[in-house]
């Protein structure tokens, strides 16, 4: 039987992807217009990491899942109402900005410090999970830096699967170019895994799991320490929305052969 894991999932919150975003500039750099008003969701890839963590914890009895999240406390609370219903975890909250314009180093530092405060954390059992990139900064930097700060130098990115073996070693599938996976084996914890989507479907909401989680989530939010996370040394010269609008030609009532001909010609043109 495998040794239990302590799985720390780092997951931020991001504006609901269906919302229209607009950048504005302030003295502290760029931010989103009405940022505090925008509904937020758990960062999608981090969400996959959380579900995979819960799945792994179920498969290896005695394992525990922590969700470490940096975001404005009030927003975190809102998002946790939904996330808490998905899988069992203990929340470690850090009160600070969730903006994509903060620097990955500063976010990583705040998260690493929060991880260090988890009571009884045993590095020999530690797996640090998270999304391989976020839906805000999209850098794929935070987890690597957290790993380095905690001295964890077996790292994997774009992970789609972990399979733990009897001897506590595990096999990992990482996405690489051309729709392929690199297969590695790692001797065991500690390791950093930045998740892609994995293979699991999103768990259904379970109000009972939600109630159990909320008992620890509320105190965790109350205890959340404020962290100063900005972007020192970084100057945004310009932030803008791309020119999105295209002059769409809507073609109705054209016969399938004609459309096929037009598309074939279009494909053939350089």
């Amino acid at each position: 039987m495998s040794t239990p894991f302590q799985i720390v999932v780092c997951g931020g919150i991001v504006p609901d992807p269906l919302q229209t975003l607009e950048p504005i500039s302030g003295p502290a750099g760029p931010s989103l217009k009405n940022e505090m008003m925008l509904p937020a969701v758990l960062d999608p890839w981090a969400g996959h990491a959380l579900y995979e963590a819960a799945n792994l914890a179920k498969a290896v009895p005695g394992s525990k899942v922590y969700l470490v999240s940096l975001g404005p406390k009030a927003k975190l609370q809102q998002v946790m109402m939904t996330v808490a219903q998905k899988v069992a975890f203990e929340l470690v909250a850090v009160d600070g900005p969730a903006s994509g314009f903060t620097d990955a180093h500063e976010a990583a530092m705040a998260l690493a410090e929060a991880i260090k405060t988890i009571p009884g954390l045993d590095k020999s059992k530690l797996l640090i999970f998270g999304g391989w990139e976020s839906a805000s900064r999209g850098a794929g930097a935070t987890l690597q830096i957290i790993g380095e700060m905690l001295g964890v130098t077996d790292q994997f990115q774009g992970v789609d699967r972990i399979q733990v073996r009897e001897d506590d070693s595990f096999e990992i599938l990482e996405r690489i170019e051309g729709g392929r996976h690199q297969v590695s084996t790692c001797a065991g914890a500690p390791a950093v895994l930045g998740w892609a989507t994995g293979y699991l479907a999103e768990p259904r909401n379970d109000p009972q799991v939600g109630m159990a989680n909320m008992r620890t989530i509320m105190p965790a939010l109350q205890k959340a320490k404020a962290a100063k996370v900005g972007a020192e040394g970084l100057k945004f010269a310009k932030v803008e929305l791309p020119k999105q609008q295209r002059q769409t030609r809507i073609v109705k009532d054209m016969a399938a052969d004609e459309i096929a001909k037009e598309i074939a010609e279009w494909i053939g043109k350089n």
């Binding site: 729709g179 970084l234 073609v251």
Partner: protein, 349 residues
């Protein structure tokens, strides 16, 4: 003045990937735009001589390398050690590397080791009064920013397809090897292989001119009240074979496959484009049976010319996102289109 390190790994055959040559192009240009800035090359991998010779004439002041069997595999511990040493040995203030999965896995970790800062997915670098600025996207390709940093070293990962590739004649490189003492701690992970789709199922082709995106519509009930997944499969695979296009998918379609429904067998979550998928770069894109909501559309950000086929004129693509939307049945159009393409192929063959 900056010291610019172009950093890259070699492939299994000892050559440099194309995106590395693009990053070298960007590094060269950067060195030329900031007065008095030397360019240094840093290579790592199993073998580096072939690659070093191929870029021997790029104007680098020095070519450094970490090479050997231990660096043939793409593994965090050894790659990070190699990249760290190359950065230190070069005394680089700016490091330019290609956004391969291998470089992307280590560059940020190394930025912390050398007390630097990192920017990934950089699209372009411009220089004004000797000050470099990088362009990159935020919020999953929904807004673009130009940024400058005062901290050094500044490490940048350049996305593929963003800069012209370096094209110099090969020469005889003078490679200086940087030695690293590896310990057991570096060898806890072993790369055991690559899992690739069978060659006839290979549908992701990053270098293709055309991206073909299939949506959940292919699996929906059609005019006759039935779903036709087998026909959809034939149409899509036929099209891919004829055009060598890369295949993308909407999230909805991938999720359907994940739920074990009888849908397109060759479609995997690796095909998904969009908010939680990829944002590939191709000259053209043809979207079929896709609705094109915002999270889906971000996957098309870097597709230059976009066309769509949808039964519904109110499809999300109809609102200023595609250049042309054909309001038509994709099954019918693809039948004709594949026949036409096959005919053309016969004529040209």
């Amino acid at each position: 003045m900056e010291t610019i390190l172009f950093l890259a790994h070699t492939e299994a055959d000892g050559t440099l990937p194309k995106v590395a040559l693009e990053a070298l192009g960007a590094a060269q240009e950067l060195a030329a735009s900031i007065a008095g800035s030397p360019l240094v090359v840093g290579l790592f991998g199993g073998e580096v001589k072939l690659a070093a010779d191929a870029i021997a004439e790029c104007g680098a002041q020095q070519i450094l390398a970490v090479a050997g069997a231990e660096y043939a595999q793409s593994r965090y511990s050894t790659d990070a050690a190699a990249v760290e040493m190359l950065c230190r040995a070069s005394k680089a203030t700016i490091v330019i590397a290609p956004a391969t999965s291998r470089c992307a896995r280590v560059i940020s970790g190394v930025s912390h080791r050398i007390n630097g800062r990192v920017d990934t997915h950089v699209n372009s670098i411009t220089v004004t009064n000797d000050t470099p600025a990088a362009t990159r996207w935020f919020y999953r390709q929904r807004m673009v920013a130009d940024l400058e940093r005062t901290q050094r070293p500044w490490l940048m990962l350049i996305d593929s397809g963003c800069h012209a590739a370096y094209e110099g004649a090969p020469g005889m490189a003078n490679v200086e090897n940087v030695q690293i003492v590896l310990g057991e701690v570096h060898k806890r992970t072993n790369v055991t292989g690559i899992q690739a789709p069978k060659s006839d199922e290979q549908t992701i082709r990053p270098d293709a001119d055309l991206l073909f995106v299939a949506g959940a519509g292919w699996t929906k009930k059609q005019k006759d009240g039935q779903a036709h997944p087998k026909e959809a499969e034939t149409h899509i695979l036929g099209f891919l074979k004829l055009t060598q296009a890369s295949l993308g998918s909407s999230k909805s379609l991938v999720d359907l496959s994940g739920e074990g429904q009888d849908v397109l067998q060759f479609m995997s979550h690796l095909n998904q484009v969009g908010q939680t998928g990829s944002t590939p770069r191709h000259a053209k894109g043809l979207s079929t049976c896709c609705h094109g909501e915002e999270p889906h559309v971000v996957g098309w950000r870097f597709i230059n010319e976009r066309r769509a086929i949808n039964l519904d004129a109110n499809c999300g693509w109809a609102r200023g996102k595609a250049d042309v939307v054909y309001v038509a049945d994709a099954f019918e159009v693809l039948t004709k289109l594949n026949a036409l393409l096959a005919e053309k192929k016969l004529v040209t063959a």
